[in-house]
């Protein structure tokens, strides 16, 4: 009896093969097996024969939307920077997308980074991706050599042990609180659609930090980000970070120092998070790729909460409307404004 993921893998391979064979798309962005247990690697498949490489399992933590603009460019006929756009339709690219990744494709479309007509979204409902770090912490001190996935359990194997653990308990925090597991864009459906999940408070972790005192929050912030080595993996894994020159690389003015000084790392994380305000879909890629296990997602989650509270918007959920920070309303809340009386003005 094949597992859910084995069935999905078969379906992905078959549909990718069909798309490539009939020439609908020039490339398919998906996942191939990784070289270590609990890893997969993002792959671009360009021929129908290579589709056997594609896999689907609970360790697909990276966001495939991140590769979309670059792959779209790679399938265009080569041309110089000043040459006109070739006539006729450009080749299409198919990409696997769960709920959050598809919302990122919506954001990329809204920001004109991706031409929606050239993207074939292969929608997969997400069952929540497993955090490698959580599994490793569960087997602290023991080397994990292989992890086999069943429908609701993980079988973890080492040199001298084999244990079965519950899959959901190892799922990443952002997947635990996710309410939109089903893609918002689907051109080719893989597997069955999933319904919206109910979560009384997806922002519980943020609320817990907000309840602390000012000094406690500062202590939390400094200790959480103290181990940052400024590898920028969080930035590079993020589908929102496509600026040709990132603010951290600016030299004149230099907004953020390049040292490991706590202030520099703090500013980097605050500004990086702020640049994702109103755009972040909480896909958790930043946190999953962090080699130091920093929970930088708390900052973007806090911004997501504020954007929802203040402007009633969630990134990527309204494909037709502009992004929250690229628009305004004449009656936006302005309780934070200082007035001459020293009082704080009520929203108009």
């Amino acid at each position: 009896m094949p597992t859910i993921n084995e069935k999905l893998t078969e379906e992905i391979r078959a549909k990718a093969k069909a798309l490539l064979a009939e020439g609908t798309v020039a490339a398919v962005i998906g996942y191939a097996r990784g070289s270590l247990p609990m890893t997969v690697k993002p792959t671009v498949v360009r021929t129908a024969d290579d589709c056997g490489k594609l896999v689907w399992n609970s360790f697909c933590v990276l966001n495939l939307a991140n590769y979309l603009p670059e792959v779209l460019k790679s399938v265009e006929p080569p041309r110089g920077p000043r040459d006109p756009k070739p006539e006729g339709p450009l080749p299409k690219v198919a990409v696997l997308a769960t709920g959050c990744w598809s919302r990122n494709i919506v954001v990329q479309t809204q920001e004109h980074q991706v031409d929606r007509d050239r993207v074939m979204v292969m929608g997969v409902a997400s069952r929540g991706m497993v955090s490698r770090r959580k599994v490793e912490a569960n087997f602290a001190g023991r080397e994990i050599l292989a992890v086999e996935e069943l429908d609701h359990d993980l079988v973890v194997k080492g040199a001298d042990f084999e244990e079965k653990i519950n899959r959901w308990s190892m799922v990443r925090d952002n997947c635990h609180t996710c309410t939109h597991p089903d893609p918002v864009l689907v051109d080719v459906r893989i597997g069955e659609p999933a319904s919206e999940r109910k979560n009384p408070n997806p922002f519980q972790q943020v609320d817990d930090i907000e309840k602390k005192s000012n000094d406690e929050r500062w202590a939390w912030f400094t200790s959480e980000f103290a181990t940052c080595i400024r590898c920028y993996a969080c930035r590079n894994a993020c589908p929102l970070c496509y600026c040709p020159t990132c603010f951290v690389d600016d030299a004149k003015p230099q907004w953020v120092g390049k040292s490991l000084d706590a202030v520099d790392t703090g500013l980097f994380h605050l500004l990086r998070a702020y640049h994702c305000a109103g755009r972040c879909t909480d896909c958790g890629a930043c946190e999953s790729v962090c080699p130091m296990g920093i929970n930088m997602r708390m900052l973007t989650k806090k911004l997501n909460k504020d954007v929802l509270d203040l402007y009633g918007m969630e990134a990527g959920m309204q494909p037709g409307s502009p992004l929250p920070l690229t628009t305004y309303a004449t009656n936006d809340p302005q309780k934070f404004i200082v007035t001459e009386a020293g009082a704080v003005k009520e929203g108009e």
Binding site: D215, W218, L270, Y311, L325, T330, V338
Partner: protein, 161 residues
């Protein structure tokens, strides 16, 4: 920032607190608030000399990079002021700014920067007196908070540029 350097810098600053005066960076929009500050000057309305004015084209021009850079460089307080909603010289620059500012101040509050360090206001070109009052309010607020220590970059205990 290790705890030790943090403590020493704080004690250094407390010893200076008696005659300590806050440095407040004010980003004023060219069309309303800067003219308001000018009017306060020509009308001889007294306001605390703690603010350092940076003239910007519009409150919508003030990016989070500029605010954080001011904090990093040791500003004790920040005031950002633009035209009243509806009066923007560029029609809607201040309305975009109004969407962005609460997100930034809430985020800074979330990581433990004292509320009151970052202030936003609307001052029109005819509101000289109001401008003086706002500067007084903000200066008092920042004075009550004391010198900024969080997100201020120091190298060997000295303020980094």
């Amino acid at each position: 920032m290790t705890n030790q350097t943090n403590e020493t810098s704080e004690t250094n600053q407390t010893s200076q607190t008696s005659n300590w005066e806050p440095k407040i960076i004010a980003f004023l929009c060219n069309w309303c608030s800067y003219a308001g500050a000018d009017l306060a000057g020509v009308s001889r309305f007294q306001y605390p000399p703690n603010i350092r004015i940076v003239r910007v084209p519009c409150s919508g021009r003030v990016s989070e990079n500029m605010i954080m850079s001011a904090l990093k460089s040791g500003a004790d307080g920040i005031l950002i002021s633009g035209c009243h909603p509806g009066d923007c010289h560029y029609i809607n620059g201040n309305l975009f700014a109004r969407r962005r500012f609460p997100l930034l101040s809430n985020l800074l509050d979330f990581v433990g920067i004292e509320p009151g360090r970052i202030n936003f206001s609307w001052v029109s070109a005819s509101e000289g007196e109001q401008f003086a009052d706002i500067v007084k309010t903000v200066t008092e607020k920042v004075k009550a908070l004391g010198p900024a220590t969080r997100l201020v970059k120091k190298i060997d205990g000295r303020q980094a540029a």
